[in-house]
Symmetry: C2
Subunit: 360 residues, 2 copies
């Protein structure tokens, strides 16, 4: 096994090596203060500075307008599936959802527990192999928002342009936040689990337009109200300190790499290389329709499940880890987030070609 393998895991996922090295140092002795990072009180001036810098970097890198709050919460994207309707929909209210995969379906389920989800589109009948065009659905005039998953981790599909509607957008960007430039203004809420493009598991970033903070019904518990966290700078209770710190390190790295625009170009090139290799042969078939292909998660099949199992096993032996597709569609999935190195993509392509020569 080499010193460092290529980790194609969909999340938790590969992180920049310099981030890991810095975390290793700080965990034992933060800034040479004689105290470890994870021992610092969240109210200490040292940790407050870490949290403030992380938020400021995220605002800068995503160009977050001043009338949005940036929150660092816990409970993963899955908790947001419930918090969004709890905060934005009272009983009898509705919102429109686009069903483009497992995570959209889960969000729809929670919206229906709390209020009413109008599912305007579903690609379930075609194994979620595409996302809809603008003309494929209509948004109910009574909907409070239009909800969509910008990138579908499991199926390897991605919205290349965002829905256009007079309703505000709400989006789960867990698997493509910070991977491409976005305009935040059409959005009421953007949220993302950290463990793909931003850092380790354990924190969820929520970007929320300020005027939405006062809508929450009185019946919603304190910790599930966005305003609770917005009013206290995500410090109402003890936050997930280590995850916030590590996100800050990843954002510093991202800034040094040239910011979101530079990463977007690199991501486009990495994905294009891999899709070219897929398209160059009939031995490999991409799962996603061409106009819905994800830059983050590249999903494909080999001629048989047996060959796929062999591919995954032989890849692992070559230090190409985490290539097994999600159980719901099987096959192969290569997750190549911001921090995934170009050389790993080239190595995978080389292995794909070699594997075809031997087994095609």
């Amino acid at each position: 096994m080499p010193d460092r393998i290529y980790n194609f895991s969909p999340g938790p996922a590969t992180l920049p090596q310099e981030v890991l090295a810095q975390a290793a140092k700080d965990i034992v002795n933060f800034n040479d203060k004689g105290i470890g990072l994870i021992e610092l009180s969240h109210r200490s001036k040292e940790f407050m500075a870490v949290a403030e810098e992380t938020e400021a970097l995220l605002r800068e890198l995503l160009n977050v307008p001043d009338n949005y709050k940036v929150l660092f919460l816990q409970g993963g994207a899955s908790t947001q599936f419930a918090m969004i309707p709890m905060n934005l929909l009272g009983p009898g209210k509705k919102a429109t959802y686009l069903n483009t995969g497992t995570w959209a379906k889960k969000a729809i389920k929670e919206a229906n527990i709390i209020a009413n989800a109008d599912v305007a589109y579903s690609s379930e009948d075609s194994s979620f192999n595409h996302v809809p065009d603008q003309s494929d659905y209509t948004v109910d005039p009574e909907s409070e928002y239009l909800y969509f998953v910008s990138n579908n981790t499991i199926y390897g599909t991605q919205f290349h342009s965002f829905p256009e509607t007079d309703k505000m957008l709400v989006s789960d960007m867990s698997s493509d936040i910070l991977s491409r430039r976005i305009d935040i203004k059409p959005f009421g809420i953007i949220f993302a689990g950290a463990q793909k493009n931003m850092g380790p598991a354990g924190a969820t970033v929520v970007i929320i337009r300020e005027d939405l903070l006062d809508r929450t019904p009185d019946s919603i518990p304190t910790m599930l109200r966005y305003k609770t966290h917005a009013d206290k700078g995500s410090m109402f209770n003890t936050p997930p300190c280590f995850a916030i710190y590590a996100i800050g390190l990843v954002l510093k790295w991202l800034k040094k790499m040239g910011g979101v625009s530079a990463l977007e170009e690199m991501n486009r090139e990495k994905a294009a290389l891999l899709y070219q290799a897929i398209d160059a042969t009939d031995f490999i078939k991409g799962h996603a329709q061409e106009n819905s292909r994800s830059m983050m998660n590249i999903t494909f099949n080999l001629p048989s499940p047996e060959l796929e199992a062999q591919f995954i096993q032989e890849g692992l032996a070559k230090g190409l880890d985490g290539l097994k597709g999600h159980r719901s569609i099987g096959g192969i999935r290569a997750s190549i987030y911001n921090a995934f190195p170009r050389q790993g993509v080239l190595d995978l392509i080389g292995f794909m070609q070699e594997f075809e020569q031997k087994n095609g």
Copy 2:
């Protein structure tokens, strides 16, 4: 500043140095697998083994009966304040609460949002300087459970014996879990944020009797149902992997030190040394009544707020950090959890005596 200071912070708090050293190594390269701990998929066999070992150690060290589930959740103890009534109380149902401090009050507030909290006792009129005796309150026969905070971090008080009632007990043990032997059988739920006696911030341990998992009303969202997490071994969604891993390291350390019984003896001795120093002079006044004194958080006052500020500042210069009392009662607080070294207690006592000689 010495290589390592003494950190009296109430949480996040001091951790064993060997835990920090191991985490620093694993974060860069876990078990020499060529992948960092925080990059591991939560579904990888490597991380699954970490999570299983952590749960097994917690069960062993706390002697958790087989009919209890051990969950690793997110959102802190504050989220449990709501989840407990959401799962155990339907509308119109009630539970009895003992109001022994800020965290009990917060739990009462959430119970009243969801159902009905019967507050059977409050020590608020005496600045929460004690916890009640058994004879000080009665539990409403219609209550579903009796809720109490076993150790009150802010005020430095602790239940030395637990309430006896035919109702099941529910307890927030955030600040004294694993610090003393307990009998789990009278409890329906025990919960604790990790960041005091167990590890870093970012995970909450919930120990719940299995028969309680089926009580939750249908209106409660998926992530807020205990059964969701119990059925999936805390892996329904991506768990707080780093926090679970670090708790595992702390538990290994605790086992090596002789387990909970051995730690209880050490904690008793550390606290006794400090209380003896407090009782030996009129210059220092303990906040908690003698029969309610906490082994974890020792709270005291000096003759004036000015002397207290000077004490905190001079202590910091000597490497005694985190001694400032909570803003709600002021004064001094020394938090001396499991991992806090005896030598740090001796150094604090030496400093107290020296400070009195100069300023008394």
